[in-house]
Symmetry: C2
Subunit: 209 residues, 2 copies
């Protein structure tokens, strides 16, 4: 039995939360409810779906470390790391160059691209930066399968097309452009406007309740 999409999202956040905690003291589902706002039975149900894990719960709650590990495994985070690149090194794109959040994940940010050669020379990173025209070379050679798209809105679609030609199968889209891609490709849109939108929608819904 698989894990449902909403459950996977909750579990992923849960794992992050657990790793931020003191590993020694166990935590109950009701405490997690207080912290996350999700009902405790939903949390327990989500966790019960990971049923391969041993020793994650005691009589007084869950062991944060073991639970986090079990979640990571169930979500496939222990497999071969996914190699990623960031495309477009403007303000948003370049902010990933020194982002520490990738540590301990199975995502390996290992290349950056920008059409402006100047930028590439100025910026520093722990991995190589390339001019945009080298995408078709570099992406297959490094086995990169996912891209973080941070180019200006006008170039979003054409850049996505090139990335897909180069072998990218997953796109995290930071531009406001809605991308049109083949069936086999997956896109995850990250938009501040959408985030604010669903935020205010939920706040509005809360009022009428």
């Amino acid at each position: 039995m698989g894990i449902s999409k909403p459950a996977a999202e909750r579990l992923s956040q849960l794992a992050r939360l657990l790793e931020q905690r003191d590993a020694a003291t166990s935590i109950t589902s009701s405490e997690l409810e207080r912290i996350t706002g999700w009902p405790s039975h939903t949390i327990r149900k989500d966790i019960s779906a990971l049923s391969g894990a041993t020793e994650i719960s005691t009589t007084s709650g869950y062991d944060p470390k073991r639970l986090a590990a079990a979640i990571r495994e169930a979500l496939g985070f222990t497999n071969e790391p996914t190699r990623c690149c960031v495309v477009g090194l403007g303000r948003i794109g370049s902010s990933f160059l020194d982002y520490e959040g990738f540590a301990g994940t199975t995502f390996d940010l290992c290349a950056g691209f920008d059409s402006n050669v100047n930028r590439i020379e100025i910026l520093k990173a722990n991995f190589p930066l390339y001019p945009a025209f080298k995408m078709k070379d570099v992406i297959p050679r490094l086995g990169i399968t996912a891209a973080i798209l941070c180019v200006p809105s006008e170039q979003a679609q054409q850049t996505a097309d090139k990335l897909i030609e180069s072998g990218i199968v997953g796109l995290v889209n930071f531009t406001p452009t809605i991308l049109s891609v083949p069936q086999a490709i997956e896109v995850e849109n990250v938009s501040i406007i959408d985030a604010l939108g669903s935020l205010t929608a939920r706040l509005a819904a809360k009022k009428t309740r």
Copy 2:
């Protein structure tokens, strides 16, 4: 009857997409299916839930402009604009200072905060930037209700607490920290790791299908 959360997310993206199109030529639900990947009947069902709008469809599809307007209205985007601030003006935070994407939305980014006074003086924006200790003053005075949180991870929770004390009811959280907030407050997490996570989860699910 209200609009479901998943439907609201689709509609919000749909509105963005429609506004990027030629306003003169109408578009059918099947074309939208090709572009977005969502089944045409889901799109039609979503649209039918907005049933207050007039003249949004003809015999050969929808009028992009009218449909976008109807969606915006149904999602509550025509009401009083929501005033927002950005907190933490590092790489990510400062990238919002000149972000054009707010134009035409009901979100009004009207203040920035940072604990580093130097940064405030160096950075330029179309709205005022304040030192962090002025939050309690400025936020109520400008009627700001939502905040975009871009501070370093270690300061996320304490900054969120201060924002809530100052009257913020909605938080878009760009830090990897899971925030603990009162019932009345809404948080929307925006995390590159979560985005990559659900992306790869979907790609993995696709393979086994």
